[in-house]
Symmetry: C2
Amino acid sequence: MSITPAAPDSVVRAFIDERRSGFLSDLAEWLRIPSVSADPERAPDVRRSAEWLAGKLKGTGFPVAEVWETDGAPAVFAEWPSGDPGAPTVLVYGHHDVQPAAREDGWHTDPFEPEERDGKLYARGAADDKGQVFFHTLGVSAHLAATGRSAPAVNLKLLIEGEEESGSPHFPALVRAHADRLACDAAIVSDTGMWAAGTPTVCTGMRGLTDCQIDLYGPDQDIHSGSFGGAVPNPAMEAARLAASLHDEDRRVTLPGFYDGVAELTDEERTLFAELPFDEEAWLRTAHSHAALGERGHTTLERVWARPTAEVNGIGGGYQGPGGKTIVPSAAQLKLSFRTVAGQDAEKIQQSVREWVADSLPAGIRHEITFWGATRPCLTPLDHPALQSVARAMGRAFGERIRFTREGGSGPAADLQDVLEVPVLFLGISVPSDGWHAPNEKVELDLLFKGVETAAYLWGDLAEHWKPAEPALSDAGPSEHAES
Amino acid sequence: MSITPAAPDSVVRAFIDERRSGFLSDLAEWLRIPSVSADPERAPDVRRSAEWLAGKLKGTGFPVAEVWETDGAPAVFAEWPSGDPGAPTVLVYGHHDVQPAAREDGWHTDPFEPEERDGKLYARGAADDKGQVFFHTLGVSAHLAATGRSAPAVNLKLLIEGEEESGSPHFPALVRAHADRLACDAAIVSDTGMWAAGTPTVCTGMRGLTDCQIDLYGPDQDIHSGSFGGAVPNPAMEAARLAASLHDEDRRVTLPGFYDGVAELTDEERTLFAELPFDEEAWLRTAHSHAALGERGHTTLERVWARPTAEVNGIGGGYQGPGGKTIVPSAAQLKLSFRTVAGQDAEKIQQSVREWVADSLPAGIRHEITFWGATRPCLTPLDHPALQSVARAMGRAFGERIRFTREGGSGPAADLQDVLEVPVLFLGISVPSDGWHAPNEKVELDLLFKGVETAAYLWGDLAEHWKPAEPALSDAGPSEHAES
């Protein structure tokens, strides 16, 4: 494999500066397409957005740029082979659909008429996610210019879906259907953010999820609590006992085997988390919550990023109207979700839930459990060469030390991981103040161009430092040795 | 006080037999009035029912028989002074309104066209409660005939309300407004039943009730369980923890002080309960329940009749629709009811609940508690002279040993006890198969006339054996010495 020596970073910056206004005017054109996937009336706009992007990617130089149909909104696929034998293959993920937006929601300007103001570009989709998809176009061009190559140093693929803001209902099927063309060595998700403008970070993983509903049935109908109360099992009480018994006094999850295989935070990771300028008061405001509470022995960031949890999402049973009603309810339900981390096995957790419920309930309470499914966690170790490349490229662009974060939620990234069986990396330049899903969404132009620059450095760095055929890739699944 | 020696019981029976057909034809006339208090269109019928009864009581000989207005349906009050100085004063309670009934609900005959069949009288209200009110008319006539008196041996008062089937919304106000005219030494409630046709019983008390709603507030809005779950307090989880912590492993109530002052069952009472021919399988069918469960060390009958309980009547919080929703809910609520027994103090229990909730919740969960009120328990000791008279009179009528029961529910009887400050006795001849509130309600004619006969013996027995001025009456309130 031959890599053309890269030009100095100043050359890259000069190239990007030169293209700046054309790039922004192209992005604005895309942002003017109101590709709201949640609104059926906008379906033609979502399609127009896909076609616009495919055309722009062709214009950028991608030899392949196609609109892919799904049972819902179309996605865009593009591919640009490196030509270098043994070059890593990278799949960039993003989405071209956007959240709904209307002027009357509190926008200062038309959400679909981008406006540049004070170094920020305001428009629906500016950060989530068109801006972050689009920086890859100028990024790859800068990469080529800086290296003198006619094709990227990696085999570059893009998959930009059109239904992320609607829950990606057809995304797993899409990935499965095109698994051969999507084959890669790593997926890079550009649909996340970083800690803050002055604190560039790379996300290293997301938690998994498995959630369920437990229905409990006691008496065949609501019965009089005077005549029968205190002498028959009460399903609302049993639902409460189940939920309450999920945690011990240290707020650790009591479900048998729940922590089996959990990838514990390394001292290095804990130190890196602790070094982040975390303001718990500010975080609580974001959470709309009035106190922090969780597993003893862990900080708030560790709890939401790296610890598995059990949560009651809903509970209901008996009379919930105004006033009192003296009944023993006939039925109750409990909705539970479990966030998982690398090393945990959702199927084992589901089985443990089934056994725990069956063992916990008294005679006279019948139950049914429905699991809605499972999303696997993903986690890339800090020393993974591809992750190191992302951090290095970002560090060059930002001129600062890159720190590491994780994401507490679970997302379509896991579908890429599971179907394609590759590690998932995250490259995002959005910041919390960008207003995702809110009025006056914006992207910081300075950060947007840092994204372009990061992409410009990344492909060369990856090709130089990563031989994906060599090391076995961590896929965040349970290792066969991790049973303690 | 002079009591005319009573005629032999055979004379009483002969007198009743002679009046049997007239009595039944009068009762049928009353049952034809569809006095459904729940149906506004039946309001004129409820009034007609009251007027019919007042007229019939006058015809029976009551010198006073009045229709009393309330803010809802009218009640009937009647009074027949004994004339004997020092005679006990007794107030009979019942109701003249009935549950709704329609042929299409499954009635074999018109619910408001009484039909005698196989020794039973079928009609809405036959047992609940017109039949049980009406046996007092022929009862007092038989008492007079048997004793040769021109007025009853006790000062006899009747209060027959018209809204019992609608929750007696105006009954407490009615009793308070007329407390002077209702003044008595004991109230006798004829709106209950006995164990079974072959097992005549007297109820000796009802449980009290205090119930509340506990609202819990966590985050100011539902928040994402991926981003925040496991790191902030969850009000649905806290509602579950509260409910679950209400009982220990023996299903005893853990609320501090809850059992303070509880009137424990005596060995005699436990033995008497245990002697009842209790069929738990049949009881479970009545309860529509599939198992018995309650306080360890007590039988099912003890649990529902004589033990205080805590019950979850309703619980709700978070998402309860179809499927899953990965949120930490913003709020949750818990509806709890506490059944109390003699010796317990509802106000102390309410205070204990307030302290328990405040002490149990973590920072970040705000709460509000609303109590809907409190109904006091009532309990008449087995050796109370008036209770002994009721059992003796019933024993003469039935020719069988009378056993004792209690009632797990709470009812308007408690208003009589609380406002008039008198013991409450129960005299009912209905059996569980009578179908209260159900289609094809009936009264067993044999038992109905046992009721007449009991009433015929009761007033003479009471006057002879009870000097109410003498012993201090148990009012089932907390004694000042019962703090252990």
